[in-house]
Symmetry: C2
Subunit: 435 residues, 2 copies
């Protein structure tokens, strides 16, 4: 990736947590979990600044660390994205590495079993979790792993994750130069003064948000009033349709097929309808007039290849998202549109289409931006929430003590006695997404 | 259909053409033609006020009239929508009936052959035509039938057709009451003061227009700048996908399958992702989170029926159109949204979904309206254009003559000598859609 100049990251200062100020950080291991409709995303913080006392950490904790670090895949379907690993990250005053792991949500039972076999149930641990699966699997987590899922709002964790990652990874944000050419190139985008920007999160479905200031966001107007889902056509639709049409077995296979296909064998183009003469209207004959429109012909269906069908499915879903995103952005008068979510993972075809679609149809007024950690922002937001919740709790406890003692300082040197996050009484009610 | 009160049709007065004032109307037969991406739509005006001299009309003309009137289907695929026939209509000062015929655009060669076999080539005739096919098939029409296709802008003819039909058919416009219930009922809508309104034309693809006054319209903001197609996902996508997924052979079969299917076996719903607990967010568990999202599971694919797939395809395409239409309407601050196009033909499932989708998500601010002559407005607009072009031409010729003669009246009593519309010199350049 090329980087144009140095990104001058003048972010609002991150809270200076410090394990000395706040010795009562949650017990290790620290995870953040985002259980989506198709994919569960997990971030694991591995401390690298262990103190002497920590070196004598319980055996189970050591084993978990070793297991996660020494593998790239877990079971048949769990996968660690080693290329996304971030080292020397400061969280809660601790220095360490962030590891990014994903597995299909449908394999949650196996994941829980695996975690159990590694002794997770013996650790009094809490995980902040988001996504619909945080509700669906809450009881199983508690029953099998004695683990509390502290649920955190999906969109709040997403935005928090984006802001943290962008501040900690100077090459996080990029755009594509010459998106239509074979030589399309990733170019670093200086995201240091990003507000306002729009977020288009493409998971199983699609959510669209407007972010106006650090931590401040709204769902864009035009979204379905009470729910996160703007559009039902997202990554889940792509993969579901591709499986039906081509018999493929995975997202990776679907993308591989699509990379070798030709959607113009499937879609009805402007030139198919006009024959000629569309030049008079400044119409590009190669524009899609009706996705899958050629497939009403028996002859065409007989000739079509599964690669073409995969490509057409990918192009259709992507272009539809681009259209909706463009309408929202124009409507909200926002020029920077950040696309993320696991639909974009290793998916340069869609990134190019989105880049071209945003730029071309808006005559250059809109720019599509992408983030390296595609679908992991929600779980990072949860990891941060795990720390903040603890901090909030400590601040409140301090305040209470100080009021009792007649002192007014919040950042006292005598912190309250430790309380297990997962124990009783609970920390203050977790924020949830009932916004 | 129920009609609430009498519709008070105070339309702008229609031009009072009269065969006495304008004896030089185009020669019969009068057709209007709209050749779309999937379907060609034809409207035929049958005069019922024939004068004595017309009773001696050429044999060919009589035969064509008989053939069209005595049949409901033409060849294997042509079809006359008898239930839509309109009688006692005044056009160009002539009284008669409008007949509505459709056939697949892919069968255009057969249609031309049929018209030739009925002697159309011996009639010096002109047809105003719109749709991409007016370009694609122009040469064939001229070569085989000696027929000139005078091309008329697609959107202009659409709006003109809507305004004419609505003024001539008091029960043209309706909405659905209780769209989600089995007892959904068509209710007449008083469209006498309709401006502004939005038109969502669902053919192979989708176009969206804002109509602000009689004959005045703009493409809605957010459309692709230079082209009619807002969204590539329209009726062509539904049928193309349905053919691929179910092996069905026609739109009618696809709808029939869909009527017996269950899309919740195919789509991933909110409750599939959340398990439970979505009530906290005011989320309806039955909302679609990802269309086709269940089809990533091999087990689910093995169990799914083709009826379910047809239903899911129909629901997906319809909901996507509803989302886009809703965003446009909110953006343009328009509350009346008129859905039309052949995608809606005999398609109560989509009409219900659109009605519910518009009303529910806008909290009652938006209303979905429908028109009885679903996909025929473009060809009606063309038929009217055929007459108007002639009138424009006569007005111009009159003006020319009057200027030469020193007279100033336009509506002179001595009309210019007749000129064949299809002859040389041509009438003034037809307006086309290069807007």
């Amino acid at each position: 990736m090329s980087c144009n100049g140095n990104s001058n990251h003048e972010h609002p200062p991150l809270p200076e947590w410090n394990s000395l100020n706040y010795p009562e950080l949650p017990p290790m291991p620290w995870f953040g979990l985002d259980i989506g409709g198709s994919l569960a995303k997990l971030v694991y913080f591995e401390p690298t600044d262990n103190t002497e006392s920590e070196e004598t950490e319980v055996e189970t904790l050591k084993n978990i660390r070793k297991y996660l670090k020494n593998n790239r895949s877990y079971g048949d379907t769990g996968h660690r994205d080693v290329h996304l690993q971030m080292d020397s990250v400061l969280i809660g005053g601790r220095k360490g590495s962030l590891h990014f792991i994903r597995f299909p949500t449908s394999e949650m039972a196996l994941f829980i079993e695996l975690a159990k076999s590694k002794g997770m149930a013996t650790l009094a641990s809490t995980v902040c979790a988001t996504g619909g699966g945080a509700y669906k699997f809450e009881k199983q987590f508690f029953k099998e792993l004695h683990m509390r899922l502290h649920k955190f709002d999906e969109l709040e964790s997403l935005i928090r994750g984006i802001e943290f990652m962008e501040a900690n990874s100077p090459t996080e944000c990029y755009y594509l130069e010459n998106p239509k050419s074979d030589t399309a190139e990733k170019i670093c985008y200086d995201f240091s003064d990003p507000y306002p920007f729009m977020v288009v999160n493409i998971g199983s479905g699609v959510s669209i948000l407007k972010v106006t200031a650090p931590g401040e966001f709204t769902r864009v107007s035009g979204t379905r009033c009470d729910c996160n889902y703007l559009a039902d056509l997202g990554g889940g639709t792509f993969l579901g349709l591709c499986c039906l049409l081509t018999g493929c077995a995975s997202f990776e296979e679907a993308l591989e097929l699509a990379s070798q296909g030709d959607s113009t064998k499937v879609d009805k183009l402007v030139k198919d309808i006009y024959g000629g003469g569309y030049e008079k209207f400044n119409l590009d004959g190669n524009l899609v007039a009706a996705s899958f429109g050629q497939m009403i012909s028996t002859d065409r269906r007989a000739k079509v290849k599964r690669e073409d069908l995969a490509r057409a499915t990918l192009v259709t879903i992507t272009n539809n998202i681009a259209s909706i995103a463009r309408m929202c952005a124009l409507n909200e008068k926002i020029s920077r549109v950040v696309f993320l979510g696991n639909f974009l993972r290793s998916n340069m075809i869609s990134q190019k289409l989105l880049s071209y679609g945003m730029e071309y149809w808006s005559k250059g007024a809109l720019r599509a931006l992408f983030l390296e950690h595609e679908g992991y922002f929600g779980c990072v937001g949860c990891l941060l929430e795990l720390i903040t919740q603890r901090e909030d709790y400590i601040l409140q406890e301090n305040l209470k003590n100080n009021l009792l003692n007649g002192a007014a300082t919040v950042n006292g040197t005598t912190p309250p006695p430790p309380t297990e996050v997962s124990g009783t009484p609970n920390p203050p009610e977790m924020r949830n997404g009932s916004s």
